[in-house]
Symmetry: C2
Subunit: 196 residues, 2 copies
Amino acid sequence: MGRWEPDAKGRLCAAALELYSEHGFEATTVAQIAERVGVTERTFFRYFADKREVLFSGAEALEEVMVAALAATPASTPALDQVAAALRAASDYFPPRELSRSRHEVITANADLRERELIKLARLSGALTDALRRRGVKEPAAGLAAETGMAVFKVAFARWVTSRGRRTFADFVDEALAQLHDLAGTTGAGAASGAH
Amino acid sequence: MGRWEPDAKGRLCAAALELYSEHGFEATTVAQIAERVGVTERTFFRYFADKREVLFSGAEALEEVMVAALAATPASTPALDQVAAALRAASDYFPPRELSRSRHEVITANADLRERELIKLARLSGALTDALRRRGVKEPAAGLAAETGMAVFKVAFARWVTSRGRRTFADFVDEALAQLHDLAGTTGAGAASGAH
C-alpha cells in the first residue's frame, strides 16, 4: 500500500506491462515476464495468480486508500468534496504515468479486460457509497456523489495517462471537477424548475 | 421501438421476468417461459437467443432512442442538458415499473448479469459521448457529460423501480439532476481555485 515502488512485485508488474504493450496481452506468457525480470515463473506466481492479475492486483489496496482519504475529511465536508479527496488520494497510488498508460492501453484493447475494469470501478463506486452512508450522507446523494466521482475518475485518468508534462492525476481530477461544476451549474436548476 | 407494448415478444419478456423473480434466473427454463405464455419453445427462440437475452434485448433500441433524443435538442443546448434529454426519452421506452423492478432485482442478484448490465451501460455512455462529439462538444466535456449522465441514469433508475405512486423515470432523472446541481455547485469551483 502507499506509493508505488519498484520492488520484485513492482518489477514484475512493469515488465508485464511492457510485454503486453509490445506483443499484446494474449501473446505474452508468464515465462517471458519472469525472464525479463530475471526470476523464475515460480516467483511470478508468488505474487500473481495469473497474468491478468498483474493488471488488477492493486484494486483492493486502491479502494482502501480512497475510502481512508474520504473518511479523513472533516465531518462537515460536502459529499462530492469527500469523494474528491478520495480521488486525489489515488494519485500517489498509481504506477508512474508511462506504466499506467500501458495498463490503460492494454485494457482498452481487450474486451475481457475492459469488463474486469468495469467491475473493479463498480465495486469502487459501491465502497465509496457505503463510506459516505457511514458518515451520514443520505440517499440518493451518497450514490449520486460516488457515481459522479467515478465519472470524474474515468475522464481524469484517461486524460492523465495520455498527457505530457508535469500535471498529476490529482490535477486532472481538479480539472474535471471544475468542468463538472460548469456542466451541472445550470442543468440541475433547470431540471428542478421544470419538474416542480 | 418506441413505447413498450405487450406483443408476443413483450408477453414472453413479462413471463420470463415473473419466473426469474419467483424461482430465480438460474432455475428458470425456456420451456417454463414458453409454457406460461402458451407458445412453443421454438417461438421463444424466434425472439431471443437464450434466457439471458430476454433481459438485454432492448439495449440497442434504447441506445437508438436516447441518441436520437440527444440529437433532436437545439444545437445551442449545453452538453449535460443534451444528455438529460436522452435520459428523459428512455422513460417511455422501459417496460412498466413492476416489470422493470423485476428485471432490476434479477440482475442485481446475479454477478454475471450485473457484469452484462455494466457493459451495456458502458456502451451507452460511449454512444452518448460519440453523439455529443458529432455535435461539436469537445473533450473532456463530452465524455464527462456522458459519464455523469450514466451516474444520473443509475441513481434515477434504482429509485424509480423501488418507488410507489405516479412519478415516472423522467421525474427521477430531474430529481437526480437537481441533486447533482447541488452537489457540484460548490465542489468544482473549490477544486478549480485550489488547483490554479
